[in-house]
């Protein structure tokens, strides 16, 4: 069954078609949510919320773009908004804890490359990080990213280039060894 027929059946209230549409796309949505959130519980929450919104708003999908593109627009909105909310909450709590622990110094172990890579990606500005993860890690095209994030294709390319430059600078001392 092709996707437009499947979508028509979902609109008509066919629950088996809903599940089929979910099965066709859930892996990619969950993978993206996990890459961005780095946490299984959050990734599951974001994936669920994405599909709930998608099914609720399916009547507004006109088929101008691919269904997957439309779905990933919802995914990035849900994930990025959700992460901002969690970050604000955690920051508030960290500030409180920091205020309580003034004078306590924690010595950090020397991070290995995996940790350095994680820290470097985490430290990217949100837009750079999102484009880098979508393009280089999850294989989205710049056109898909542009639609999903509501930016021009050129902006996506520029952000990727800047993200790579920042990562290159952050990992320059390690990268030589790994590439060799």
């Amino acid at each position: 069954m092709d996707e437009s027929t499947l979508i028509a059946r979902v609109r008509a209230g066919d629950s088996a078609a809903e599940r089929a549409l979910y099965d066709a796309h859930v892996d990619r949505v969950y993978r993206l949510a996990f890459r961005l959130a780095g946490d299984d519980a959050l990734a599951q929450d974001f994936t669920q919320e994405t599909f709930i919104r998608a099914f609720d708003r399916l009547d507004s999908f006109r088929g101008d773009a691919a269904f997957s593109t439309w779905l990933h627009t919802i995914t990035t909105t849900v994930v990025l908004n959700g992460l901002r909310k969690v970050k604000r909450f955690r920051q508030r709590e960290t500030d409180i804890d920091d205020a309580r622990e003034i004078g306590t110094v924690h010595r950090q172990a020397e991070p290995d490359l995996k940790m350095r890579l994680k820290q470097a990606i985490d430290a990217l500005p949100e837009g750079y990080r999102t484009v880098f993860l979508m393009h280089d890690v999850e294989g989205y095209t710049h056109e898909e990213i542009g639609v999903a994030l509501g930016v021009e294709t050129g902006t996506s390319k520029a952000q990727l280039s800047r993200a790579r430059a920042k990562l290159r600078a952050a990992l320059s001392d390690f990268a030589g060894e790994w590439i060799a």
Partner: protein, 219 residues
């Protein structure tokens, strides 16, 4: 053509390294997520029936009509000079009730948003042994608010009351977390939250939009 800032060899290495090590996703838990999606959609479907847009218009029209009738009666009473004091008192009382209702809605929405952020963060941190003292402190604060909400007119709504009771149970469990056997307790709390679908219920009770403004339909 590559610009001066590009380094294809590094970029290829970076892609491979990031794919293999940065937030590498596990197998998709399809069935678990689907069952929660189906349950949440059923609940939302019931809610949509309650809050269809045309019903809001009908409600608004009815409110305007009632207001018009009220003003008409009040002015009629004033002109006839009978029952003026009673009508004014009733009007003021209704206005106070209405303002109190809005205040409860604002408070409820803010409380639900805070609780959602806390429980989402709790689930996300479940495997990381985040500071138990901090978690229990936050849970106790929210538990106090939950119990106040349960005693307030906001809990007259049966759906909200049921949600508050679920939240009270979860928050009480978190407030009583034992630092020694913390990991096991957190797993049990998470299992309970999944079984009772408390987070999806909580999210569906929070209206869309920025917290301070999103009071419409909060309860």
């Amino acid at each position: 053509m590559t610009d001066q800032y590009e380094d294809p060899k590094f970029d290829a290495w970076l892609k491979d390294a990031a794919r293999g090590t940065y937030h590498a996703p596990p197998t998709t838990p399809r069935d678990e997520m689907w069952s929660r999606i189906a349950a949440a959609r059923q609940r939302r479907a019931r809610r949509v029936i309650e809050l269809r847009p045309w019903m809001r218009w009908v409600t608004a029209a009815a409110a305007v009509l009632a207001l018009g009738i009220g003003i008409g009666r009040w002015t009629a009473d004033r002109s006839s000079g009978k029952g003026t004091d009673v009508a004014v008192t009733r009007g003021v009382n209704r206005e106070i009730d209405s303002l109190a209702g809005v205040a409860y809605q604002v408070a409820a929405t803010q409380y639900l948003s805070r609780t959602e952020a806390f429980l989402t963060s709790f689930r996300a941190d479940a495997n990381r042994s985040v500071n138990t003292a901090r978690l229990t402190r936050q849970a106790r604060e929210l538990l106090t608010t939950t119990q106040l909400m349960l005693d307030s007119p906001a809990a007259n709504n049966p759906r909200l009351r049921s949600l508050l009771e679920d939240l009270e149970l979860v928050l009480m469990q978190i407030a009583l977390l034992n630092p020694v056997r913390d990991g096991r307790d957190r797993d049990l709390i998470n299992e309970g939250m999944n079984q009772s679908n408390v987070l999806p219920k909580l999210r569906s009770a929070i209206p869309a939009g920025p917290v301070p403004a999103r009071t419409e339909g909060a309860l």
